[in-house]
Symmetry: C2
Subunit: 228 residues, 2 copies
DNA sequence: GTCTATAAATTGATAGAC
DNA sequence: GTCTATCAATTTATAGAC
């Protein structure tokens, strides 16, 4: 879905991926917009987009520089290297996902209600932080930064599995499927959204979250009418 | 879950990943087992395993050589390069997945039964060809071989979506969820299995396929007893 | 905050002997 | 079927000017 790889020469010294708003919104006085330059966050945003298009390992610093419209060496002014970019990105995703676990699902919510709430909110966070979550879910563990990310992900999975287990013990979810397996399938479904969902594509996040919750909790099969 | 990256020097000229059975089973007379060497298939098997551990782009020919226990240049005796290895692997996965679409789901199976059959069989094929399917599902499209793979995958997705649409039109699946969305969610769930399922891990494929079908078609929620 | 220039290491791949 | 030796291109990263 991205633009086709450029063939024609871009105008100017290098085609800038961005034009105008590079800094975090509300930080710059809107005056003097010549040669804006990047700050850490705006640079990260473009970098993560490029990582997701070509894969982290498939993206060279040269690729990043081209996407940013600056030179390779300029990138090192902002970050220590490629790996720090990865670290910043996946940390952002992990922080957002962990935060959902601590949210209040309502005053008198049991484990089953909390699980449904977690499912819906996870979809919303995935959509809100899509590029960062995408990068996180593709990490392979080749470098120290990636291994740290995998370690935090495992802790996240563990806490989610606990909740499914509680819901099963509480009797809210069916007993003929192992809670650990159910947990894997539920969040496998949620995580698979990064492969195709795009928040600007005409499908509202709420609709998506509701559809996922309906299929996973109520099932896809049309139920026979009660009187039939 | 692979062995930790070696730190100590391996015995001999290089540690061989395999010891004894390199050729396709039943091809060699079991006599004379000194210096077996690889054929295309046995080499591909190790290569794909390495790709899946470190990522395709994250795996250098040097990494492959180390995993194979031979030198880089020896690899070029079997294949034209890294990209042909990818091509061979993802083609194998695609052929297996396409074959399921042409299987007979039973003499009097409607679209809904055919969809359930496709779901179960897809899980089985994913498990049977796990390394190859894993590699396929991670392809990013950076090279011609990858783009060919993505193109075939899209055709596969399209044919699957058609079947879900038919099942919906037939009235077998609930009407309040868009068939295209349902299709994405179903096969997102199936595809997510590559992230954790290991055929030798104590969970039988049939159990897994049945659990996935149950959750997706019947839902996770415990149904209230009829008399309650 | 970005640039040019360049270093040092790694990468995919080939030639030719055994 | 595998080896040693080698190459040209690319890759990550640094030095120092503007």
């Amino acid at each position: 879905m991205g633009p086709p790889s450029g063939v024609c020469a871009p105008p100017g010294p290098a085609a800038r991926h961005n034009d105008g708003v590079n800094r975090t919104p509300g930080t710059v006085p809107a005056e003097r917009r010549r040669r804006p330059g990047y700050d850490r966050d705006s640079l990260l945003e473009i970098a993560v987009g490029t990582f997701n298009e070509r894969g982290y390992d498939g993206t060279s610093m040269e690729d990043l520089a081209r996407a940013l419209g600056i030179t390779k060496s300029s990138i090192y002014h902002h970050v220590s290297g490629k790996e720090e970019l990865l670290d910043l990105a996946v940390s952002r995703a992990l922080d957002a996902l962990f935060a959902v676990l601590d949210e209040d699902a309502g005053p008198d919510a049991g484990s089953t209600e909390r699980l449904e709430y977690l499912l819906r909110r996870s979809v919303e966070v995935l959509a809100a932080e899509l590029p960062y979550v995408t990068l996180l879910l593709r990490v392979r563990g080749n470098s120290p930064a990636e291994q740290r990310a995998l370690s935090r992900r495992r802790e996240l999975d563990h806490r989610v599995a606990e909740l499914v287990h509680q819901a099963a013990a509480e009797g809210g979810v069916r007993g003929d499927i192992d809670p650990a397996l159910a947990s894997r399938l539920i969040f496998g479904t949620v995580n698979s959204l990064i492969e195709w969902y795009r928040p600007d594509g005409g499908l509202a996040v709420d609709t998506l979250a509701a559809a996922a919750a309906t299929i996973l909790f109520e099932g896809l099969r049309r139920k026979p009418v009660q009187g039939a």
